[in-house]
Every structure is written in C-alpha cells, then in structure tokens.
Symmetry: C2
Subunit: 337 residues, 2 copies
C-alpha cells in the first residue's frame, strides 16, 4: 500500500504546512481505458426486456462515441437471466471498429461454447470472494466455481479468445460484510495460475471505500504483481467516483462503468448502479486524462438509453451538459448564493 504521507494538518483550509501531492498521479495525457458494462451489468436487471435491435443500437453508439471495450452481454443461463437470452444475436449485430474489444461474462464450459461461436474477444469468468454470495449468485461454492474455469480457458484458447478473471464482492459482501483482501488474493492467484492476466475487481453492491480500495490494491500488488487490474465500482452509496480518484492515485488506469449509470442494487430500491460512463469520462477529461471518447456523442447515447428504458437514469452530465455549456442571462431567475 502506498505510504500515507503524515501531514502536519491544521483544522483549517490553507494553513497546512506539510503538503501532499495532488490526487492526479499521472502526467497530463495518460490514457485511461474505460470498459462500458451497461449492456451487461445494467440491462440484466431491467424489468422489461430491451429489444435486441435497441441493444445493438446502443452498443454501436457507444463504439462510435469512442469506447474501445464493451461488455456486450452474458452467456449465462437464459432461464436465470432472461434479459440477456439474446446474447449471440446482440453480438452478431455489433459493428466493431479497429481496436474495439468485445467482452461478455461466461460462467462455465457451456457458456464458453456458445461464446466461442461469436465475434467476442474476451470471455470473463467470475467468482465471488464471499462464500455466501457465491452460493446465492451461482448456486455453487467458491471452489466449485473455480473448478469450472480450466475448461473455459481451454475452449477460449482453442477459439483464439482471451479470458479475464472477475472477482465479485471484492470490496464487501451484502451477506457477510467485510471481505478480507486475502479472499480476493486467493482467487487472483488461481486465475494467474490459469494464465489469466486481466483481473477485474467487482464492487458488486457498492461497498468499496478509499480505505479498502487502497488496501486491496496493496495486497494484490504484493501477491500478483504480474496481473493487470480493472476497477469495477458501483455508485450504490454515492462514492464511486471518489473511489476512482483513489484508483488513479494508486496508478490504476482501467475502469468499468455503465452508460447513464445503468444498473442498480438488488438490495436497495432506487439505489444507483455502476458508476456512470459519461460522468466518469467528464471527470477524467477535466482532470487532464485522455479517454479517446467524444463526450457529446456519449451523452447522446446516454439519452437514447434513458429513453429506451423509459425511466430516469442517475447520470448527471447528461442532465446538466458539459462544463462550458453556456446559458443566456434570460434563461432563468437565479437565487442568491
């Protein structure tokens, strides 16, 4: 874990004698890679089925806006997640651009066989760091779940596709509470030993905090320094982008997010889902990072998504517009302050 510089901190604003470096760790222009996960993590919990054609339109809009990586769907059981039963059809309709990477979740060999037939680039295997969540989510223990993945890796390799390893409830479990870094490290090591390089840390129900993000990254840096981390935060408790700031300060350059802030939390009616892609892009661009994404086009896709779902999405930038949106002095009566 990065050493916290002890500060001679006064209880005031400017009277700080020992200063800290900025939260912006990288030179202006560092490229941050965003993976759009709304079509999977968001659509899977919507009540009404989103027509396949509309899903394809949204995914293609995201790619046109500059997203280089999109988690398009999930090859889970259509009975368990009927919203994503059209996984193969959606993938067939996606128009990739040079450099586009298409991913989907794949829980087992059966899913891998379905996925192998498609233009998918990356199969994402996933396992909960919490035993209770694992049983609840996939009806199997952690060990039973992990035992399914060598076959997935074999099928993926034969089909010329990569595999990434996701860890759900990496920052806490809604049933068990805190999740120790060692629980995540154990799964990460298993992935590494299978030859997987990409490690995705899922904040499944929004329990990540600045403290446990730093602690988990430190543990992984020590245990599996050869792996590459993606942070997958939910905004369930409003601190998703604050956690991104921690990730950036810790040197992590890969983040998952969902268009419009799609998604939700099965335990909290009205709670936010994943961190919102256009708000994340806005934050990164305004902080001097490069994303390769056109924010205006992205906002258009967010609005299309919101219209398609027929409910208000939590994304903020699509409501307020980019920062330098100008208003005429007659637009409104302002209130003091």
């Amino acid at each position: 874990m990065g050493a916290v510089v002890p500060a001679k901190q006064e209880r005031s604003g400017l009277m700080v004698e020992a200063r800290h470096v900025s939260t912006m760790p990288a030179r202006q222009g560092t490229r941050i890679e965003i993976c759009e996960v709304g079509p999977r993590d968001g659509f899977q919990i919507e009540k009404s089925f989103i027509p396949t054609g509309r899903k394809i339109e949204i995914v293609n809009g995201l790619i046109d806006a500059g997203l280089r990586k999109v988690q398009v769907t999930s090859f889970v059981s259509p009975r368990a997640v009927p919203q994503l039963a059209d996984a193969a059809e959606v993938l067939a309709g996606v128009k990739r651009r040079p450099g586009t990477v298409l991913t989907a979740l794949v829980p087992n060999a059966r899913g891998a066989e379905r996925a192998a037939e498609t233009q998918l680039d990356v199969m994402g295997v996933f396992c909960s760091a919490s035993e209770t969540h694992s049983r609840k989510n996939v009806n199997a223990s952690i060990d039973e779940t992990l035992a399914r993945f060598p076959a997935v890796v074999e099928i993926a390799s034969a089909a010329g596709k990569r595999v990434q390893g996701d860890v759900a409830t990496a920052f806490g479990c809604p049933f068990e509470g805190d999740v120790a870094p060692e629980q995540v490290v154990r799964i990460a090591r298993f992935y590494r030993d299978l030859g997987i390089v990409d490690l995705n840390l899922g904040d499944t129900t929004g329990m990540a905090t600045p403290t446990n993000v730093s602690a988990l990254l430190a543990a992984l840096r020590a245990a599996v320094p050869e792996m590459t981390v993606t942070l997958h935060f939910h905004n369930t408790r409003g601190v998703g982008l604050a956690n991104v700031m921690v990730g950036l300060a810790e040197g992590v350059t890969r983040y998952d997010s969902s268009i419009g802030g799609l998604g939700g939390c099965p335990f909290a009616a009205g709670a936010s889902g994943n961190i919102c892609t256009e708000d994340l892009v806005y934050l990164l661009q305004e902080s001097g990072y490069e994303t390769g994404i056109d924010l205006d086009q992205l906002i258009d896709v967010a609005r299309l998504t919101q219209t398609s779902l027929g409910r208000e999405l939590p994304g903020q930038v699509m409501k307020a517009g980019p920062r330098l949106t100008r208003h005429g002095v007659d637009d409104v009566a302002t209130a003091a302050g």
Copy 2:
C-alpha cells in the same frame, strides 16, 4: 499548487513503477468540519414553501445528529426569495448545542440589521466572481456588491457576530464560462482587508473540477495564506465527492454539503444540488476521518427531509443504508456478476 509527482505510468493496473502517495493526506482521525447548507441552499429553490415548523425540525435534527455548523437561512429580500421569508422565525426555533455555529447569508446592511437581532453566529456575505452572474444574481456589479460589505462587518461586529466571505461562481460561470483564479483572489483580498478570515468557495452551478480546484487553492495559498478555506461543491455533474478528494489531498478540512443532496441547478432540470451530507459523511468516515456525526441519525433526517419535500432526493446512502447493512440470503434473487 502541489507538485504533481511525475509517474512512470504504464497502460495497466499494477505495473506502475513510480508510485504515488495515497489520496488520503491526513492521519486517521483528522477532524473534518462539515457545514450543512441544505436549509438555505436547498430550501431556497423548492417550489412549495416548507412550513417553518418543519424547517426548524430538520435543522434541530441535523444538530442532534452532530452537525456543528448549519447555514440556517438567508436574510435576503423576502420578495426575491419567498421560501426564506421566515428567516428570523426559523432561527428563533433552533436549539443549539454547545459548540453549534449558526450561519446565514446576509447580502447588505438591511439584511445584517435583521440578522443582528437573532441568535445567529456568523453572517455570510457573498459576491460572484463573475460580473455577469453578479448582475443576474443580485442586480449589481461586483464592485457595487463589495461596497455593501463594510457596513455589514460593522453591524456584525457591534452585534458580536463573525462574518464569513463567500465567493459564488468561484469555479466557473454559467454565463461567462471559465473564471480565472485572479477573479476570486481579488474578492478574497477585499474580504481579508475587511478583517474576514473565513473564505467560502462556491461551486454555484457545478463547474469545479480536480484541475481548477487545485489551481484556485494554489492561487489563494499564495495570495491570502492567512485565510481559511471552505469548499462548497455542487454535484451538478456528478463529480462533487471526487472534488472533495482533491480538497482533502490539498489539505482543506472544511466542506459545505446539504442533507439528502437538497438543491438543484436552475439551468438543468433534474440535476443534483449540493453534494449530499450523508454521502459525504459516509465517505469521510470510511476514509478514516473524524466528523463527530452519527450517520444513522443523519440518514433519519435525510429521510424526513425527503418526505417533507415529497420528491426523491439524490442522496445515495439513505437509499442503500450504511456499508455493513446486512441482508438475508432470501432477500432477493441476485444476478450474476
């Protein structure tokens, strides 16, 4: 501005050779002072008048939950802001605890005379850093506005009250766009020369970003190092708490926020208002800072406020509950990932 440590940054997660210090600048236990501004910044834009008794109930609930500073109201013209016409009555009903600080906005000598009669502790004068916003907001230029404040200081001093200096549109103006740090520094110097120590930087329409927060703090640190800064962020574009992370890394320990995320933006229907008090408290506590606030009690006040307004407020923690809220395994069917 704090030097940005140049990082040898790879395009991957853990492969960072030159690491950065944590975004947490202070030792565990640093006290962060939160000023609740919802009763002023939030209530002033609600369409329906909130009954005076309910306002008092909410303010007293906030104080009971541990808020040490509350901006209770505004002594502006009741014609301009009818929602706060009951300023004196609300203040009369507030039950302070030892150490409670009550503040209100005061635009001019007339407001100061009304405020002087109350149990208020701090009068907040305010001036826009943008000429256009100033004329639109208070129908006066910046210089005309500042010229009203010596009289306020005199009245406050005679009444044994302090004065704080607020700068609106400190991070950008919805009419003019970017606001240069020098525009804010000019007003800060004027305040300082009047003997004001507390400087409040208002992000009136949510245009603060990590970059301009750091830049403005650097300019103020150089120009008026004897002043104490409070950061007043709005969450209009979703990055309010990310900006708090920047403020913390820059050593700022005072923040304004509003219960439930009350407030809004007159330019964007549906946009968020101030950063949300309970989400801020959650973030700070989970990052190891001390707030002196009981989060559970605060959530109760947020829910009361939401019920009182009859509309959904943007606060997240009140929907999801604190981090270790446990759920039974039969609560819901979870979806994979």
